[in-house]
């Protein structure tokens, strides 16, 4: 695991010296800042009709606007993990070092989770702003961030798997975008379909997932889904990297 730590350090170092990091972080914060401002405006004007929901619960679980930037930025953030090494040829020096495929994948996966957290860290300011102008349900905020962490665990794992499978970064980004987009769309079925189909869609639903956590409800069904998918994708990434030697 020492080598996974070395891989993690290298991955973060290279991410934070790349212009990509700052382009993504800046546009991410602009997008969310505008969205959060619109929510506070809405709740300030419609105080009576808003009921139990608050700008924070609206932000974390309100609508598709929360997921649109994620469906774009997650592929952009994960595409380089392994595909960039293939394109630069450094996969050859990496895989001929005395380290296992698991260490490489776990190191890179851990790095992607750190990046995910860095993405969300500045949004804590929104909760602080709300606490200055009213009461904040800190339990619900904690649950929201926990939900985000679980969501990130499988988003980043899916992105990592695509980066292992794809020959280039662009192909990796497109594959992750399509995979996450399909999962998101299937989830919307929760609000459209009936019966068993609805049950299945609800299980996958990213919207339902975040709506539940934003209310402070930690639903274990979502946790099981997130973690299962994360473990599966990371496991497949290790397998795919091992299979490369036989290609």
């Amino acid at each position: 695991m020492r080598s996974a730590w070395v891989v993690l350090k290298r991955e973060l170092g290279s991410f934070f010296v790349s212009p990509l990091a700052y382009v993504v972080l800046t546009s991410w914060l602009v997008w969310n800042g505008v969205w959060f401002w619109m929510l506070t405006e809405f709740y300030a004007r419609n105080a009576v009709s808003s009921g139990a929901s608050t700008p924070l619960s609206g932000f974390f679980g309100g609508s598709a606007l929360f997921f649109i930037p994620l469906l774009v930025f997650v592929p952009v953030l994960t595409m380089r993990l392994v595909a960039a090494e293939k394109q630069a040829g450094t996969i050859e020096t990496l895989m001929t070092a005395p380290i296992s495929e698991s260490s490489v994948i776990l190191g890179k996966y851990a790095a992607s989770l750190v990046i995910w957290c860095v993405l969300w860290l500045p949004t804590l300011v929104y909760a602080w702003i709300m606490s200055q102008h009213g009461s904040v349900d800190w339990g619900a905020v904690t649950a929201s961030y926990f939900g985000i962490l679980c969501l990130g665990a499988y988003f980043m794992a899916v992105g990592l798997l695509m980066s292992v499978l794809a020959p280039t970064q662009i192909v990796a980004a497109v594959l992750s975008f399509v995979t996450l987009g399909v999962l998101f769309t299937v989830g919307i079925g929760e609000f459209v379909l009936d019966g068993t189909a609805r049950e299945v869609c609800a299980y996958v639903s990213m919207l339902g997932h975040m709506q539940s956590f934003a209310k402070g409800v930690i639903d274990t069904r979502y946790l099981v889904f997130d973690l299962t998918l994360a473990v599966l994708a990371v496991g497949l990434s290790i397998g795919a990297l091992k299979a490369r030697r036989y290609g």
Binding site: T93, P98, R245
Partner: protein
């Protein structure tokens, strides 16, 4: 010591390496010679664990390199063809990273030592991506030396170096004679004559000669041309 027995590698249905066997004794410097596309890089990639063989056995200091790949890799320094490096890192950062990855105990001292050995101490704080090809080549060599491995595998190590750098490189490799086992691939015949104790020639994936340069009555150039005529035109281009 490197022992290769009946090694073969297929890419799909194309045979890249076909039933190749050879040995490199401890402390020996061996040249791996062949026209472009003869299977040199594929063979070296199998030795270093980057590719799995389709059949055959590889032993690195007696360790089965297919079954115990990681233990075998720990005994080798490898400089791949084209010298892929992390271009966004500084030279000393890159070497420190690689040293840590290889589990070198005193990384700082190892970085200094291999920077000095490869003659890149003056480029220590420069960014890898901004270096000239000759410098990058030597950073790759420094990387191969970082863990002070008993075995060095170098794939076309002098391509991109100027004549002075080539001379320095040859002196360095010669200085390893008797201390490190070196297998270097090249298609520069004078290089083999200058540094190698022995030469293995492959053509179309098969070993066609295993000889000591200077032993043959004819020059290595004539031997090479004779053994690899089918591809001689391609080589010249």
């Amino acid at each position: 010591m490197i022992e290769v027995e009946r090694l073969s590698r297929l890419y799909g249905s194309r045979i890249a390496v076909n039933d190749v066997s050879f040995r490199v004794e401890p402390g020996e410097i061996v040249g791996f010679l062949g026209p472009n596309g003869a299977g040199k890089s594929t063979t070296l990639r199998m030795l270093t664990g980057y590719l799995a063989p389709s059949s055959g056995a590889i032993r690195i200091d007696g360790i089965d390199a297919v079954q115990s790949s990681i233990r075998a890799r720990a005994r080798m320094g490898y400089m791949p063809e084209g010298v892929p490096l992390y271009r966004d890192m500084r030279v000393h950062e890159y070497l420190r990273h690689r040293g840590q990855l290889k589990g070198v105990p005193d990384v700082a001292a190892a970085v200094d030592r291999c920077l000095e050995l490869a003659g890149v101490a003056d480029a220590r704080t420069r960014i890898v991506g901004q270096l000239s090809k000759g410098y990058r080549q030597r950073v790759g060599l420094a990387e191969a030396l970082i863990a002070d491995p008993p075995i060095l595998i170098l794939d076309e190590p002098t391509s991109g170096l100027d004549p002075n750098q080539v001379r320095q490189f040859r002196e360095l490799v010669r200085s390893f004679g008797g201390k490190k086992t070196v297998l270097l691939s090249t298609h520069i015949l004078s290089e083999v004559e200058a540094v190698c104790d022995r030469v293995i020639i492959i053509r179309e994936g098969q070993k066609v000669a295993d000889l000591v340069p200077g032993d043959a009555e004819t020059s290595l150039e004539e031997v090479f041309a004779e053994l690899t005529t089918a591809n001689a035109g391609q080589e010249a281009s």
